[in-house]
Symmetry: C2
Subunit: 755 residues, 2 copies
């Protein structure tokens, strides 16, 4: 019983489109305030060191330098865990990540900051801050860090072993947990085929085009305003509140346009530092990062070590799965090991599962969320093992997924039983897709070519959103929301309001408001905005609708239950002559007390989760090891595509990021733990010249809870690419790549090893 | 049965106070945008002339000049009357007042504008725009303009005579109307004493400290953003929409802080011009006025001619009143003659009344609202005639007012019957006040001294307001309102929300939002914000309260009707142990789906009106004619004083403006119709050195409709001063001043005439 839509599923121009293509949109770096100072951050030159002293006296003598800030200027945060943004945050760690207290745990960690009358003075003076370090040996690899003999990053981080804190000795392993389902021993005993493999993935960065920035103005009355580029203004507010011990109501965060985030712009870096410098100087302070600071000083996604063992019976039915995942948290505990472990087998119905997860500190930047955090690493491992099983059993890999794919009622290893989901539907769509039934795409040369497929899962989230919406007298509606628009959510939220009211998307005017001007709204992340903020817009439309009905009833001097709202037209039930459009009524009521404002707040149940199945054709240059993408098809269940163009854009963008992760991207470190490629010249992300058109195929299995069936779109498309490409490389040249990125050097090495 | 308040009546520091005293508040002139151009306006050098041609070619050749705008760039607006802001506006006139079309009707009228890369280039190039004028004789006085022989300003303005348009011949008299009550002939026949006098008042300006400004950014997609200093962002939106023929939803008006308005910042001047220049150049354009432009190019309050005749019987009971009021509209019809006529006898219960009102065009700037528009001129006339009657009958002027004062049930000449009002209570308070029973205040010299009293009325208005309010998890509330805060309304509105919720005023964080971010809200004017926006805040609090009750009921797993809200504490009726404060509940619910956002829109009935009675002691220097204010007491019924300090501030500010109007302020014109004192050096406003402390006495007769009894405060205190001072001058030196201002020259002349 599919809903019929007037607005949803169409492709109106996004409201912020022209501002963005003409350069008029205001980003954090565009902020200019009278008397504004420019801040810069001094970053650690060591991967691991004790800070013996910081001497800023020479810097403070430079004319134009007005203040220096160090950890001594931040309140001492205890080890309290606060739930800020997407997950739990240890405040002491968060504080030390903004300005290091006592020790530095990675090269690039913020150690001090200063504010000066112009950026050049700030940069020059920065070099005059003398930090006396006692260098310590760094540990840069997750498995090294897990050894008892490894240098310990923290004297006060202990292993939480299956929920119990082992306080006997400090450890780099912050956490070990298990997910269990059935009995894996019994399961593997039933297996006709068992494959077990080890995998390594490198640290990669989200690579958003806009560096971090923050401008703060601290008033003597204790109120502070912060302008920044963030995925969540309320999260910045909450974090700054905790770090500086200021009530949230004294902080106003103004979110400017954001030049990409992908999870990396949830945690604060510069905001509290700018606020402290502003408090010290009495002037507004603006701090910008350069690209090197972004790479070295903000959170990438973890490198990882993963072991996967899967068993299937002779019919091809999966009977058991075992996984061991160790994720690099970076400097402070908090890798996305949880989601990684939740996602690793989430595409399949496996009766017996055992998953071990480890969160491990290493001397790299504290990791942050990155598009389906943790899931891509995991899927690279599990989906290449699935491919091997299919090869061994000589089963078509999509047939295998149809046979084993998760569906409504399947229990996932971490507990939940799936509601209605679309895994099977994505596989069916992939199987029917012209790409899958066509011969391999032609290459540019006679190099070997191959096709691979892989699936992926991301659970998507709900969380809190608020909107208000005011009816204008020209029949348009101003919509106020608190969700940063990263990928077109102004329009996708506006369209849901428009659909509910029966008006055009263009007749909704969405604005993203500051934290003083809209109700609490969680971060733009977890693929939640179109789902949850869209839901709030739907509810606000209901609030508007009944008020408009009330106005119509007054106008016609009839009872409220005699008027009905139907696709933008209000009618009296008892008189066909009495009908009026939303726009007409909005115009009519303006001089008769007619202001209509709707509001809604939601904290909805989480959607059922998103599934994707990707198909890729590659060619491999056997001499250089270069892998080229010849054809790429990404099939994804998005529940309901509110604005198909932006859904396609999300799918394409996610796939491209996954391809970059698969083939080229990695943090290169030298022996001292220094990143050696902290620039876009050396950290190789794919460009449009490297890629074919990504064919985005939308499957729609509506989420039954959401009023319009939305599931969320943004994250799962990054999950399958590394595995799909690895499987395609195997198909082309017969080598199993078990390390990311599958860069030319590694491919050449693997080819040589095969020979 | 007086309400007991926790917040209302206290004096918290205003939320915007620190920003304003430290210079951090952002006013229109503070706006800086990348690539911004600077606009300047060329103003007419003639008081009355036909524009034969405008040649901007030389100006456009100046390097840095990017565009010129004239009336040719504005759509031709028909004679449509639009209800924008406080009253009806003829769009063709409004357009021509922004950029003159065909003719100029006053010196200083905007004729052309240009935008250049910096203000200096703009000013230089402006002088190169050649306007070829055909000068016409100006008419500068209302009675001259009413003559058949007078030069006519408009070929298409005809007299609306008692509601009928007399289309036979053009006239400077745009309107003549009458208010009638009883039978004046019969009334005057009963009079024992009849006094009839003529009065003249000069054109005066509001004299706000901040000149007009506007910055506009016109996007190629047809959306325009305007930053300005205005009393009503939605009114600017509506006016620009009409003048440029753009839907309101394509216009976003961002109201910045306002450095005074007093009615003069409701009509647009620069906003559409900046928008047109921005559209032509593709860049943001900012235009500022200088002080001369403010005096010559924006709306002062009208000069007027008034004749008043009052009759009382021998007991001192008023039996009849007649008034003839002719107000200078300035260049275009639209003086506040209506309110003037409504207010002239509004303080009294007079059974027989006839009032004639005339709206008359003269070659002065188009008049605008100014604090109780029209009422001060009228009260100067009626309240000095009342004083003469009291003298003749030898009745104490306050006793006379007690006897004749309007009260609940009194019918005003324009129709309405008063609900509960506070005229009598202000007179009683004045009579009991130490000032009234004390001897005359000591002067600085042996000059003659005297005491005068006068009363005043302003009806105050209601109109539309919207607010939204979000509960923060620290128990504070963010309040979004659309009312420009001129005199402390952020706090007076916040206090009403706080009172309703039982929280502290400091725990409400009010913001004045742009037109995209809050529901429709009418102008800050008519003394309506604390009344109507405060009422909206009260209603939003009710919306929040029931949601909080719902959350508490969920928390306690009880029924909604088992929980009650009492002064910031929620309790379960059936269990004394179950109680929780608003703040505690806000904190508690944050992780349990607990977002609470309230909203309200109101269009309330108008309040009953505001009355004031002032007492003044003066001394008069018989040689120079200088009048000094020795002591001043202003008694006013404000219904309920939400924040007494700002009520007192409004009363003091209004009284001071009235004193300036009484003694010094006037537009001085030469024979060519050129203003000769367009600067603060030559246009003499009183400073703190000229005045004693104004003793503001608050009387509280709650308005029975308003939830907290508010009536509105800002306007009526300007009404009594000229009459009170004129009466005091008579008491001192025995001359009746019948012309404003009662400047030294006029006083000397009157004294000479007496001799």
């Amino acid at each position: 019983m599919a809903q019929v839509f007037q607005v949803i599923g169409t492709r109106p121009i996004r409201h912020d489109g022209l501002d963005k293509v003409t350069g008029r949109a205001q980003y954090g770096a565009d902020i200019q305030l009278s008397g504004m100072l420019h801040g810069r951050v001094l970053r650690s030159s060591h991967a691991h060191a004790r800070i013996k002293s910081i001497d800023a006296s020479a810097a403070l003598k430079v004319p134009g330098v007005e203040a220096v800030a160090t950890a001594a200027d931040l309140p001492e945060s205890g080890d309290r865990i606060a739930h800020l943004g997407e997950g739990a945050v240890n405040l002491r760690h968060l504080s030390s990540n903004c300005l290091a207290r006592g020790k530095v745990h990675y090269k690039g960690q913020a150690v001090a900051a200063l504010a000066a009358t112009n950026p050049h003075i700030a940069e020059e003076a920065l070099a005059l801050i003398k930090v006396d370090y006692e260098p310590l040996p760094p540990v840069m690899d997750v498995r090294e860090a897990m050894k008892d003999s490894a240098p310990k990053l923290h004297a006060d981080v202990f292993t939480e072993e299956m929920g119990q804190l082992k306080k006997d000795k400090p450890s780099n392993v912050a956490k070990h947990f298990q997910f269990k389902l059935g009995d894996v021993h019994k399961g593997f005993a039933q297996a006709a085929v068992t494959v077990e493999r080890e995998f390594h993935t490198a640290t990669v960065h989200q690579g958003y085009i806009e560096p971090h920035n923050a401008t703060a103005m601290f008033n003597p009355d204790g109120n502070v305003t912060i302008w920044c580029s963030t995925q969540g203004a309320f999260t910045v507010r909450a974090q700054v509140s905790e770090l500086l011990q200021i009530p949230v109501s004294r902080i106003k965060v103004v979110p400017l346009e954001i030049g990409g985030g992908f999870g990396g712009k949830i945690r604060v870096y510069l905001e509290p530092v700018a606020a402290v410098l502003s408090k010290k100087t009495g002037k507004p302070v603006k701090i910008l990062m350069d690209r090197a600071a972004v790479f070295e000083g903000t959170g990438p996604t973890p490198g990882s070590y993963i072991r996967v063992k899967l068993g299937a019976d002779k019919t091809g039915k999966l009977v058991a799965g075992e996984a061991y995942l160790a994720y690099e948290a970076g400097a402070f505990p908090g890798s996305p090991i949880g989601p990684g472990a939740m996602c690793i087998f989430a595409c399949y119905d496996i009766p017996n599962v055992l998953i071990d997860g480890f969160d491990v500190c290493v001397n790299k930047p504290a990791t942050a969320a990155y598009r389906a955090p943790g899931a891509t690493n995991a899927a690279f491992a599990s989906e290449t093992v699935v491919d091997e099983i299919c090869r061994q059993l000589k089963i078509d890999p999509l047939e295998f997924r149809l046979k084993n794919g998760a569906k409504e009622g399947t229990r996932r290893a971490d507990g939940p039983i799936y509601p209605r989901i679309g895994m099977i539907e994505t596989v069916e769509a992939a199987k029917k897709h012209p790409h899958y039934v066509a011969p391999l795409a032609p290459g540019s040369s006679p190099f070997p070519r191959g096709r691979g497929v892989a699936s992926g899962f991301w659970f998507n989230i709900g969380l809190k959103s608020s909107v208000t919406a005011s009816v204008n007298n020209d029949g348009t509606v101003s919509l106020v929301e608190g969700s940063t628009d990263i990928g077109g959510t102004r329009v996708s939220v506006a369209m849901q309001l428009a659909e509910a009211l029966g008006i055009r998307a263009e007749d909704v005017r969405p604005v993203v408001a500051d934290t003083d001007s809209v109700g609490y709204t969680d971060v733009t992340g977890g693929s939640r905005v179109t789902y949850a903020t869209g839901w709030a817009a739907y509810e606000a439309a209901q609030d508007i609708k009944w008020q408009m009905l009330e106005k119509a009833a007054q106008l016609w001097k009839t009872d409220l239950d005699n008027v009905v709202y139907d696709k933008g037209v209000i009618r009296a039930k008892d008189d066909p002559a009495k009908k009026i459009t939303f726009k007409e009524l909005a115009e009519k009521i303006q001089h008769k007390g007619g202001i209509v404002v709707g509001r809604a707040t939601v904290d909805p149940p989480w959607p059922g989760g998103a599934f994707a199945t990707h198909i890729v054709d590659v060619e491999v240059d056997p001499d250089t090891g270069k892998v080229s993408i010849l054809r790429y098809t990404a099939v994804q269940d998005c529940g309901k595509a509110i604005h198909p163009s932006y859904v396609e854009g999300q799918i394409q963008g996610g796939a491209v990021q996954g391809i970059g992760w698969a083939l080229n991207e990695e943090y290169a470190y030298n022996a001292k733990g220094e990143m050696t490629n902290a620039s876009f010249l050396d950290y190789r992300m794919p460009t449009s010249l490297d890629l074919p058109m990504i064919d985005a195929v939308i499957v729609e299995v509506p989420d039954p809870k959401h009023p319009y069936g939305v599931r969320g779109v943004g994250e799962v498309p990054i999950v399958p690419p590394p595995a799909a490409i690895a499987n395609a490389i195997y198909a082309a040249v017969g080598v199993r790549m078990n390390e990311l990125p599958m860069s030319p050097g590694r491919v050449v090495k693997a080819l040589a090893a095969k020979k």
